[in-house]
């Protein structure tokens, strides 16, 4: 059952996918459904003995291409809608123990090409208005499978957080002589310098002035590229290099493979004009504030939407930059 219900108090959709309760939960490595199917072994999601990068439709999707009309009709105040959309799983490698941080730059570069292909293909579907590429890594984030993988959601609507960001960028552009909000933020970070982690030729990694997590890092295209599909080969190569260095730095922070949420923000695929408004970038939100303490989204963050931080971004950037440069 895939169903959307409208929350008129926050003016946003909530997705219900009750079949996801049954999904595979932290199986032992020998029964990983994302590993290749070995001769004589149990059939996994991947009917091959090996693979490089693979993408498949999620068995337990939050949204489905042919979602039926919901049985619950809703009301004019709280309408419902079919939970229509696309949910894909992206397998980064057939090596169960690998992570993005342990992979070579070449594999990361090739993965960027796969993300680009999925953005273009899913974005071309008439019912997909936003292609959201993301990764949840680590049990602290709530992952149910350890095999290195990410996900892609093709939403029938622009989800709230990117929508809010796009609205802010459009308003900023209107009030500032057609300037791009993200380009100006990036310029400010470069001029200040204290929160810069990696300055690549085409991409910059930094902890934003207004970070919501202690080690939150943003990776911005230095050119105002609206989406991943607007990048050239040299830019993809530089992005792979910057991601590799950032992720290796993350794993050096506390001596273990750091959990994180990775999300991409870019132009919607609803046919609108997002030049100078959408600016392709990747955001990482690691939950750790120390090796054994997590930043929880508690009362103020969840109930009020107001984040409270107990460490300044300048301080965490200095720590993380030291780890990156020491590698």
């Amino acid at each position: 059952m895939n169903q959307l219900r409208w929350d008129p108090t926050l003016r946003e959709w909530v997705a219900y996918a009750t079949h996801r309760q049954e999904r595979t939960f932290l199986p032992p490595a020998e029964y990983c459904p994302l590993c290749p199917t070995k001769p004589g072994g149990f059939p996994t999601e991947v009917p091959r003995e090996s693979y490089e990068i693979a993408v498949f439709e999620n068995k337990f999707p939050s949204f489905a291409p042919n979602a039926p009309a919901p049985e619950e009709p809703g009301t004019s105040l709280t309408p419902t809608a079919p939970g229509r959309g696309i949910c894909e799983v992206v397998l980064y490698s057939d090596d169960h123990a690998a992570t993005l941080a342990t992979m070579g730059e070449r594999r990361i570069h090739n993965l960027i090409r796969v993300w680009t292909d999925r953005y273009e293909e899913l974005g071309s579907l008439d019912f997909v208005d936003y292609v959201f590429i993301f990764e949840n890594k680590g049990e602290a984030i709530g992952v149910t499978l350890h095999h290195p993988h990410g996900q892609i959601y093709g939403y029938t609507f622009i989800p709230p957080r990117p929508a809010k960001e796009l609205e802010a960028a459009r308003e900023y552009r209107k009030q500032n002589y057609e300037r791009c909000l993200h380009c100006d933020l990036l310029s400010q970070e470069h001029e200040d310098g204290r929160r810069i982690l990696i300055g690549g030729e085409h991409f910059t990694a930094f902890i934003p002035f207004y970070a919501h997590f202690p080690f939150e890092a943003h990776v911005y295209s230095r050119r105002c590229a609206p989406s991943i599909a607007d990048l050239g080969a040299e830019e993809r190569s530089d992005l792979a290099s910057v991601l590799k260095r950032l992720l290796v730095g993350y794993d050096s922070l506390f001596g273990f493979s750091l959990p994180y949420m990775m999300v991409m923000h870019q132009a919607p695929t609803d046919g609108g004009d997002y030049d100078g408004v959408a600016h392709f970038h990747i955001e990482f939100y690691p939950p750790n504030r120390t090796a054994d303490k997590l930043k929880y989204l508690a009362g103020s963050e969840t109930g009020a939407g107001a984040f409270i931080m107990d460490v300044l971004p300048e301080r965490t950037a200095e720590t993380l930059r030291g780890k990156i440069e020491a590698r």
Binding site: E45, V55, E57, G104
Partner: protein, 33 residues
């Protein structure tokens, strides 16, 4: 890395009707990294 290697994209249908796409890259077939 101005010239990117060729990529082979193979789309298959699983037993339950879901699609799976395999991406194979020329440079990785050569075993370089």
């Amino acid at each position: 890395m101005e010239n990117e290697p060729e990529v082979k994209k193979e789309r298959e249908t699983k037993d339950d009707g879901r699609y799976i796409i395999f991406y194979t890259f020329e440079d990785e077939e050569e075993g370089e990294d």
